[in-house]
Amino acid sequence: MFTHNFKYSIKILFKNKSLIFWTFAFPIILATFFNMAFSDIEKNEKLDIIDIAIIDNESFRENQIFKETFQELGNNKSKEQLFKIEYTNEEEARKLLESDKISGYLLLEEKPKVIVSKNGINQTILKYVVEEIETNSEMFQSVSERRINEKIQEEILKGKMDLDYNALSQEIIQETMKMLQNQKIQIKDISNPNLSYTMIEFYTLIAMTCLYGGILGMTSINKCLANMSHNGKRISISPVSKTKLILSSVLASYLVQLIGIVLLFLYTIFIIKVDYGNHLPQIILLTLLGSLAGLSLGVVTSTVVKKNENMKTGIILSITMLGCFLSGMMGITMKYIIDKNIPIINKINPANMITDGFYSLYYYGVQNRFYQNIISLILFSAILIGISIISLRRQKYDSI
């Protein structure tokens, strides 16, 4: 019965013209429009080297990781140059910022502080670079300390009592630095010559396609609910368990949705030449989970909202469009505004989880921020599916 319902659910979904339009055609049409609208802007607005200042105080000079990393990112002979850095004092830096000559400046005291006067892509990049270096720095410090302690204990156990602690520490610090080279490379990825802030539009487009899966999920569930459709009544009196019916229907929707996303990827990669970077497994993982989140949104809307199908479709479309808008679909500034002022909105916004996942993957590689988005999507889906299961347990209705 599972296969039977699965097979026919796919057939029904594929023959539903409006669903096919929203799932397959609409994202491709939108991608084409995005490409037409942004390709010229893109040509003219390749990301420039960012002017920043660093307060050249004692803390900065003593912090080897910060110092070396910024030296490298500010090296004008390097192809990977990201920043043009002015090493100065705080007063001067403030003046430069006020006169818009720099995007922001770094003040390293006990903790690094990024001072900016407005929001934008340059400011965000500076902020995230500093965050990444800070993370690496902390990691470096803790790994070094641990390794030094281990080494000392090891040497003492061997019976060596005349240890040169300075030499030992230097040796271990050098080794640890080498170990953390990979981390540095990920920061360098930021200077990817293809860096494009209009990419965010395509990320939100994928997010939108993932969330449109909600309509597929809702349609599939409605088909099985006696209080939602005449077919649901007929299916509900059949000798097939609700769990089997719903699982097979949801799985069919998921498959159809994934086909839609694959088509969008193929179209954007091969026809309009969008570069999604080179983290394919992570992209697939993010897309699978994004689609699951979309599907869960549809399933929970179908089971919890006691309205007709049109109303439910409206709810899903509204949530999707609003979510995409807040995560930067109609302009990247919105994402920055929300991230800065009401971050909770984007933390619970599934469209932003997907968009930000792609964004962090593209700009920073496989880092914590990417995994945070992955975990958020899993949690989002799990909560919605949990609510749906509780709601679906009810087998009889008070009215039909």
């Binding site: 039977h4 006696a226 005449h230 059949s238 000798p239 009889k396």
Partner: protein, 312 residues
Amino acid sequence: MKNSIEIKNLTKEYKELKAVDNLSLEVHEGEILGLLGPNGSGKSTTINCILSLLNFTKGSIKILNKEMNPNAYDIKKEIGVVFQEVAVFEELNVYDNIDYFCGLYIKNKKTRKQYIEDALSLVGLENYKKFYPKQLSGGLLRRLNIACGVAHKPKIIFLDEPTVAVDPQSRNNILDGIEKLRENGATIIYTTHYMEEVEIICDRVIILDKGKIIASGTTDELKLLAEIEEKVTVEVIDLGEKYIEEIKQMKHVDQVTYHNNNLLITYKKGKNNLLTLMDYLKLKKIKYNKIYSERPTLNDVFLYLTGKELRD
């Protein structure tokens, strides 16, 4: 006589309203039971309760001697339902629609294929296999609706107003199909407010009003309840009050009404009432266009019992 369905004291309340009120009934194996009643009388609610689609306030429902509940899959296997709303998928053609619903009951593909052919033949849709629902007329769509509900050859079939808004040809086809289902041994619960259909196909009839059984029995038994032997209708123009009064005084006459040039006379008993009336009209030189006599219908029974028409 074995019972296929036993309902005891079924009550379904919606806040203040009792949609089904302490209803008890038995459906015998192999019979066609007509559930008759006007809109809102509780027919569909009763069926939805029997099918475990609706919660009910109190009572018990046994089907094939087992307590019915949403997880009683062994009972559900033996049930087929044709709801009054057409329940088919617009995206699937006739054959696939029947295959989909039949497949929820019959796993074996070969058996299912045969069952689908039988269902198509039962409702006369053999030539429409590849048609999509929107390509079918209302009558054909109703037939598809029936085929989807009975293709798995259930022992118990609920037909909830299957002939609403269909053309006479499809209606006859549907009624023939129901007869065939009964011949094949199915027990049928047939709800409608078309009393003529009930008179044709039902072995027993239950009349519901406001969620209560107000009468039950064979159609002949029910007609006796109306205490009417005969109804005579005469199409006559400008009949004077004097004549109406004289007709009222005639033997066996119960009631006389004259409305829109139609004279309706009901007789409680007696024979040759029509001839007596015709003799009177001839004697009085009253010209008439049409005159005919009818036996009382279930509608008369309903009218007698509730004071309102079945289709109110």
